[in-house]
Symmetry: C3
Subunit: 329 residues, 3 copies
C-alpha cells in the first residue's frame, strides 16, 4: 500500500521528469492551491493510471518509477479544466480516461522504443485532444454551451510586457504545465522541482526565460505571455534536453535553448492547427519538439546521451534521466 502511494506521488512528479515522491506531494499541494477539485482529480487520476498498469501486468520498474502515472494525472486534470470539474460526467470520464491512457502509453512506448525515445506526454496529448475535440458531439458530457471550433485570426492587442507581466509569466510558465494560470501555483511547482534536483530547477528557469523572451521577440500578445500559455512548453523542453535525456553540458544547453525557442513558436502553430476542430494545444509543442531534437541527437556527435547502465548523478538528484531512458530502451 505504502509502495503504491509512493508510486502515485512519483507519478505526479514525473510530469516534470522527476521520480521523486516529495516533489509529487508538493505538486499535489500546488494543485490544491489552484482549486481543491484539481488536487483531487490529479491524485485520483494518477492512482487510477498506476492501478490500471498493475492490473494489466506492466513491468514493475515502470510503475515504481511513476512512469505509468504522469499521463493519467494530466488527463484527469485536463478533463476537469476543459469539461468542468463539478459534473459527475466529467468525473466518470476522467476515471475512464486515466485508465485508457495506460494502453496509449503502452502503445507509444513500444513504437518510440524503436528509436530509443521516451513517450514524454504524448499519450496524454492524444487522449486529451481526442476528448476535447469529441466532447461537443455528446450532449451528456458537454455543458459549456457553444463549441470551441473556430478559425484563428491574427493576434492583436499590446505586446509590451510590464514588470508585473514578466514575473507573473516567469512563474505561471511552471503552472500552465498543469493548465493553471496563477503565478503562486507556479511558484509552488518550482519549489517542488528544486527539491528533487537543483539542475532541473535551473533548467526549468532557463526554459521559462527563453519562452518569455521568444514570445516577446516574435510579438505574442502580452496577456497570453503573462498567464504562461506561451512559455510552459519551453520549460519542459529545456528540462528534457539538458540533464534528463541528454547529458548536461554546454552543447546540450545550447541545443535545449534553441529547442525551447522553437517550441514557443510552435505553440502558436498548434493553436491554429487545432482551432478549427475545437482542440487545444496541451503539451503538443513540447512533445513534438523534444521528440524531433532527441531522435536527431545521434546525428550530432557533440551531443551525448546518458548511459542508461551507468550509475546516475545522484549528487544532483537527476535520477530521472536514467530511469526514463532505461524505460525507453
Amino acid at each position: 500500500m505504502w509502495e503504491f502511494v509512493l508510486a502515485v506521488l512519483r507519478g505526479q512528479a514525473q510530469v516534470d521528469f522527476l521520480p521523486h515522491a516529495l516533489t509529487g506531494a508538493i505538486f499535489a499541494v500546488a494543485l490544491f492551491a489552484a482549486g481543491w477539485q484539481y488536487g483531487v482529480y490529479g491524485l485520483l487520476g494518477t492512482a487510477v493510471g498506476t492501478a490500471t498498469a498493475r492490473l494489466l501486468g506492466v513491468a514493475r520498474d515502470r510503475i515504481t518509477a511513476g512512469l505509468e502515472g504522469f499521463n493519467a494525472c494530466l488527463v484527469a486534470v485536463g478533463f476537469a479544466v476543459f469539461l468542468g470539474a463539478d459534473h459527475l460526467s466529467t468525473a466518470l470520464l476522467a476515471l475512464a480516461g486515466s485508465a485508457v491512457v495506460t494502453v496509449v502509453t503502452g502503445a507509444a512506448a513500444r513504437v518510440l522504443a524503436t528509436w530509443d525515445l521516451p513517450t514524454f506526454t504524448l499519450p496524454y496529448c492524444l487522449m486529451a485532444s481526442s476528448m476535447t475535440i469529441a466532447a461537443p458531439g455528446f450532449e451528456r458530457i458537454w455543458h459549456n454551451g457553444e463549441g470551441l471550433a473556430a478559425l484563428t485570426h491574427p493576434a492583436g492587442g499590446p505586446t509590451t510586457l510590464s514588470w508585473t507581466d514578466l514575473w507573473h509569466a516567469f512563474f505561471a510558465d511552471f503552472a500552465q504545465i498543469f493548465f493553471m494560470p496563477q503565478w503562486y501555483v507556479g511558484l509552488i511547482f518550482l519549489v517542488g522541482i528544486f527539491v528533487a534536483s537543483r539542475r532541473a530547477g535551473v533548467m526549468a528557469c532557463v526554459g521559462s526565460v527563453v519562452g518569455i523572451f521568444t514570445a516577446w521577440a516574435l510579438g505574442a500578445p502580452a496577456a497570453e505571455v503573462a498567464e504562461g500559455t506561451m512559455g510552459y512548453n519551453a520549460v519542459l523542453v529545456a528540462m528534457a534536453l539538458c540533464g534528463v535525456f541528454l547529458v548536461a553540458d554546454a552543447w546540450s544547453l545550447g541545443y535545449a535553448v534553441v529547442a525551447a525557442a522553437a517550441a514557443t513558436g510552435l505553440s502558436s502553430a498548434m493553436a491554429a492547427l487545432f482551432a478549427p476542430s475545437g482542440g487545444h494545444t496541451f503539451t503538443w509543442p513540447f512533445v513534438l519538439v523534444s521528440l524531433v531534437f532527441l531522435v536527431a541527437a545521434p546525428a550530432f556527435p557533440r551531443l551525448r546521451r546518458p548511459d542508461a547502465a551507468a550509475p546516475t548523478d545522484s549528487a544532483d538528484g537527476a535520477e530521472g534521466a536514467a530511469t526514463q531512458v532505461a524505460a525507453a530502451a
Copy 2:
C-alpha cells in the same frame, strides 16, 4: 480464373477479417440489396485491387487470402457513395483508386510490420480521405454543388433511443462498415459473418451493443445512433481484438470492450477533426484504436497474441487470425 474469383470473394469478406469466400458472396448480396450499383462497385473494386496486386507480383498467399482486395472494395464503394455512383467520372476514379490502394497497402504493410501490426483498413482510410477532401477542388469529378467543409457545432436533438431506434441501430452498425444505413442490409452482413465464424459473429454483436450503449451514455443524437454511424467502428474493433489478433479469452474480451467504447468516443473526434476540410470519418476510429490497443498488447502479459505458426482454431472458423497475423509478421 476460379482461383481469382475465390480471391475476390475472400477479399470482400476480409473487410470483416474473414477469408471466407461464401461470406464474401453474402456480403455482395448485402451490397446489391442496398443498391445494385454498390454491389457492382464493390465486386469490381475488389477485382481491380486483387488484379493489380497480381500484376505487381505481390506474394501469392496475401492475394489468395483476400488481403489485397478488402481495401479496394471499400475504396470503390466509398467513391460511389460520396461522389455519386451514376457518374462516369466516379467509375473511372473508383477503378484508379482501387488500383492505387494496392500501393498504399504495400506501404502500410511494410511500415506496420515493424511492430508486427496488420494494416487494418488504414490504406482505404488514407485513400478515401484524400479523395473526399480533394474532390471539390476538381470540377469534372465534383457534382454535389456546395462543398462539405464546415466547422462542427455541438450536438443537438433528442438522445433518447426508442425500441425501433435500438434494433435498427444494432443491425445498421454492421451495414455502416460499408456506408449503408439500412437495418436489413446489416442483417445480411451479420448472417455472412456467422457463416464464416460463430465467434466472429458473437463479437460483432458485442461490438454493436457496446457502441450503442456508449453512444447513448455519452449523449449522442438518437438519429445518428439509429442509422449506425456511432457503432460501426465498435463492431470492427471488438472483432479485431477478441479472437482475430488477440486470443479470445476473458482478458481480451474486456480489452476489446474498452477499445470498442473508446472507438465510439473517437468517432465524434474524427468527425470534428475532418469537418473543416470536408473529410469523413470512414473507419479511422477503428483503425487508430485497434492499432493503439494491439501495439500496446505486448506490454500487458495477460493478453496473448495468436501464434502465427500454430494450427488455427478451424473448429470455430477463425482462420482469419493466423492469416492476417502471418501476413503482418
Copy 3:
C-alpha cells in the same frame, strides 16, 4: 572554403536530387531572375543549413553531397515568399529556420532510415508549415494584414487550357518547386536539370506533362494549372521514382507516372486540409506520395532499387541516386 561553396551549390541542386554544383549555380540564377531577394535568401539559407550541419558534426559525406542544404534553401525562400522578403524579421527568421531545419533533417533521416527511406523535403515541409501556420499569431513577424485561415469552397472558373496556358504550365511546374510562377524561371531550372542529367531532365518533363494532363482531366481551374501550382509535385515525384530511388526501366516509369498523377490529385487534398489553419501545400504531396510509393516498392518484385554499393551510372549523370540512397541506408 571552396569546398564549402561547392557543398552549398550542390545543396541548391539537391532540391531536384542532383548533387551537381553547376546545376546549383544555374538554380541560383533562376532564383535571381525571379527576384534578387529570392536569390540571396536561397544562397544564404543553403549556406546556413550547411554550416550548421558542420558545426554539429554531421557526417562529412552528407554535407559534401549537399544533403544538408536543400531543405534550408527551400525554408529560406519559403519564408521570404510567405512573410515578405523585405522585412528584417523575415530575414532573421529565415536564418533561424535554416539552422533549425538541420535538426529536423537529422530527426527525419533517423526515423525514415528504419525503412531505408530518404527524407525528401519532409524537414522543409514540417518547418515551413509550422512557420506559416504560426506566423499570424505573432505581431512582429506578420505584416500581411488578415490571416489566411479559411474554409475551402468548390473550384469554379474555366477549366479549358489555352495553348498559352499549356506551355506556361509546362515550364512553371519547374519554377513552382521554389514557389515561383514565371515560365522563364522554370525554363532556367529545366536547363539546370538537363546540365546535370539528361535522364533527370526527361523525367522532369514527363512529370510536368502528367501533372498538367491529370489536373485537366480532373477539372482543375485553368489559372492554377497555368501558374504551375497543380504540377510541381508531379515533377518531383516522377524524377524521384524513375532513375533516382528506383532503377529506371519500363516498370518504374509506369510506377512514377501513376504516382505523379496521384500527387496531382493529392495537391487539392492538402490545400483543403491546410486551409482552415492558414497553412500551405508546399511539397507535401510529393513527400507523402514518394514515401508511400517508395516504402511499398519491396512488395513489388518488378521494381528494383539501385544498389548503393554499385558504381553509379555516371554516363548519364544520375550520381544523385546512389548518394541519397547511401545516405538513407
